[in-house]
Symmetry: C2
């Protein structure tokens, strides 16, 4: 049997006061005499009184908790985002409830219902790579659930959004390869329906165009599960490498795609970057140590989380419906390893 926490009622009984008096004393109301106030405060401190947040939630019709929906917690990008969210939430007296979709639409829907049924005050989310049907999200939006998208956004829903400059990240990465003499650059992208995918692919294409390299559609392969499954990336690599004109470099458009390309290269004894160069989006801790095999496009994940949490909390706490929605676009950073150390370029 669990320890019963002390309540206002307990304090009232012991001190021979009414619950309302105690409540007011604790909230430092002006209409309570200094002596009573002192007495109540002293006793409350002594007994380590803490207001019951659940009772408070019931009364205030808010739970002081925000839901976070990501594809996969055990993914460095998402865990870094959650890290940022948690720190801001904590500062503002909110708690963070985590749910994951595992890149699966059905799980995503059930997780959203789950969060809503937990009466979170708002939700920060990144849609699963599988999702093409946004009706559940749309529904929550219409029911005025405060939402903030990050990374993988839904264009058709008008709310705060936080993303990185995916276009520029991919553009810079491609240009980086071109400048280093690569002439036949392939791109393994995430699921085509994701906003981040088209942005990155467009950056890739734009860099080719600007450098007068022709875009070859055979050099662009999509991974519908975001590279989560190794076999998916393996198939993509096989497809790319069976061409007569084999690519001499690859852009990996997601964490998992990048690492699975490396895994494939290792398995097939393809040397990076001797046989083929690789630059990838990745937020893994070690990626800057991996070179010379790899250059890395790193997303400011913690910052994204913080910003998303700030926007959401502002949204929750504003009395009137928000009229102006922000779309914050943060810069990605490209890291390249020189002979000595990883350096930002």
């Amino acid at each position: 049997m669990k320890f019963e926490a002390i309540t206002i009622k307990d304090i009232a009984k012991v001190l021979g006061l009414s619950t309302s008096t105690v409540s007011r004393a604790l909230r430092d109301s002006y209409e309570i005499s200094p002596e009573t106030k002192e007495k109540v405060l002293a006793y409350a401190r002594e007994m380590n009184y803490r207001p019951n947040p659940i009772a408070l939630s019931l009364k205030e019709k808010r739970s002081s908790s925000i839901g976070v929906l990501v594809a996969e917690i055990a993914n460095s990008f998402f865990s870094q985002v959650i890290n940022g969210i948690e720190s801001v939430a904590q500062e503002n007296g909110y708690n963070v409830i985590i749910a994951q979709s595992k890149e699966n639409h059905a799980k995503e829907v059930s997780a959203l219902h789950y969060l809503a049924s937990r009466s979170v005050d708002g939700i920060i989310l990144s849609v699963s790579s599988e999702t093409t049907d946004f009706s559940v999200i749309q529904q929550m939006y219409e029911k005025k659930m405060p939402l903030v998208f990050f990374d993988r956004i839904v264009d058709s829903i008008q709310t705060h959004k936080v993303t990185v400059d995916n276009f520029k990240g991919a553009y810079d990465a491609t240009l980086h390869l071109i400048k280093n003499g690569y002439k036949n650059i392939a791109c393994i992208a995430n699921a085509p329906q994701l906003s981040i995918t088209s942005e990155r692919v467009n950056g890739y294409k734009a860099a080719l165009e600007k450098s007068k390299q022709r875009f070859n559609p055979a050099n662009l392969v999509y991974c519908n599960h975001g590279g989560l499954i190794y076999e998916e990336v393996e198939a993509a690599m096989k497809q790319l490498l069976k061409q007569k004109q084999k690519p001499d470099a690859i852009i990996g458009c997601a964490d998992k795609i990048t690492t699975n390309v490396m895994r494939y290269a290792q398995k097939k004894r393809i040397a990076i970057p001797t046989d083929i160069a690789l630059i990838g989006f990745s937020n893994l801790d070690l990626t800057d140590l991996l070179s010379p095999s790899l250059s890395v496009v790193r997303q400011p994940a913690g910052e994204m989380g913080k910003m998303a949490a700030e926007l959401l909390i502002k949204m929750i706490e504003s009395k009137r419906p928000v009229s102006e929605f922000q779309h914050a676009v943060l810069p990605a950073e490209i890291f390249q390893r020189s002979s000595s150390a990883a350096k930002k370029i």
Copy 2:
């Protein structure tokens, strides 16, 4: 203004029934006539009625949420553990509330108070590397808050514990180096007050002893912040390398220590394993791709999380106080990269 969810009272009013009848009909009570039941259920379904979990919590004195306290969410080991916890929690109708200590005792204490004040039904935790004073945890324990420790446990508190076989992990790792001909193996360990630290250090010492190698105290350095700060590991490396008898191999006893040793080696242009070998505890995704620079001791993090969550939920839901506490010890796995692929040894 947020959408107002439908309540039992609303249903009762529309259907001309009392709230208790509706409540009972929804819970499929035997004392309600089939017709009434049908009517209520149909309307509830139509209106997409969901019971308010907060009201339920207030009534039942349980929140159906479990708190998780880790050092750092954005650490692959912890995020993998959280991943496991979340999946089990979800299955059992619990939600997961995250808090992090950042390896700081003051933050740890405040996070614990925070979770308790959020009236979680139980807490899964791994103590911060800084912590030497367990009085707050002890207090919660005495107040019957269900607790499950994982990884970094507190021996003096009698409750369920989930750890990996740290002794054997370090023992095997050391033996692995010895078998490969290393003669002067150093160990960079975590904070000395952590349970995992002494276990790993003991495994290291035992392997040396068994192989008739003398343990040299100068070859053992502790990192009080768990290697979280790069400078800490840098200092440890400098200390080790300034000896006349420089070590020819290093065991890194934590994720961050391992990667920061690599970072140091890279910075100082020390080749791994040519100049010095390294085997480290690490749960990073890429570590098995890093070789030949590194062998890795990997912890079954997801499993630990699942097991911890199962134990905690069982504990929460058992009516009587638990009499027998489990201490589950899971095996660690050592990975070594051969010329072609990472293989488990």
